[in-house]
Symmetry: C2
């Protein structure tokens, strides 16, 4: 966390007040969670623990650390799920506390090829979770293991 | 470009066939363009020149180079425009050729706080361009200059 300056946390910041998802992994400065989203079950977030707003608020080593974590999650999702595409994003308009979305997208998912924030294109039967190539518990375990292996 | 393996370009890939916007800067492996978007005039893209699909297809030095370019654009947008938020994203569902969106968002813009791919929240009068704190030509120049200065 050295050099990672936290600004004052806004009242009610949900990523200061809580984990922001099912926690998969953490260290002193970062945590990785899985978001509960029925349409996009393979949806993880890499979240700064301090209340940092923009990516360039981080010093370079922490930017690189952050992207190493993002890449670790991306690699596991690609290996385990062979998704049509990975989507990465750091938006934070609603919650201006630095967090990266790492989402496995499939050509059969409800919004593909639209972004997950766009317009639904189809309904998915029986469910996205049922169509995922592996159970979420095993995917979480693989993401967790990936975060413990070398990042590069 | 060393170590940056290009996969075969899909027929009709628009980012292989053309610049994908108004070119602001380029080197052997990357280019930065400004996207023509009436709702979001301060919308830039960092685009890999080779046909790379996912961020983790890049070797680590090129990942770091890419994010240094993204951060350079982000820093200039923050300094010149003091936006409400910066949005960063690498999606590529429609165009699976690695490109990063770097977008200055304002609390008055048409979609805020929704993502630019979400639902419009308001109409903006007279135009987003007119409300931008500086002319686009000067912003482009600042982005260009930022890309020539040290990245860290």
């Amino acid at each position: 966390m050295e050099g990672m300056q936290s600004v004052q946390c806004g009242a009610g910041c949900p990523l200061c007040a809580g984990p922001g998802g099912a926690q998969i992994w953490s260290d002193e400065a970062w945590r990785v969670v899985r978001v509960a989203d029925d349409d996009f079950p393979a949806f993880y977030r890499v979240i700064a623990k301090p209340h940092v707003v923009e990516f360039t608020d981080l010093p370079l080593p922490e930017q690189q650390r952050c992207m190493a974590l993002v890449c670790s999650v991306e690699r596991v999702l690609r290996k385990q799920l062979a998704p049509t595409k990975i989507n990465l994003a750091s938006l934070g308009n609603m919650t201006p506390h630095l967090h990266w979305h790492v989402i496995a997208r499939f050509d059969w998912d409800s919004h593909y090829p639209q972004p997950v924030w766009g317009t639904a294109q189809r309904s998915v039967e029986p469910s996205a979770l049922a169509l995922l190539p592996m159970p979420l518990a095993r995917l979480d375990e693989a993401v967790h293991l990936g975060l413990h292996s070398p990042y590069t």
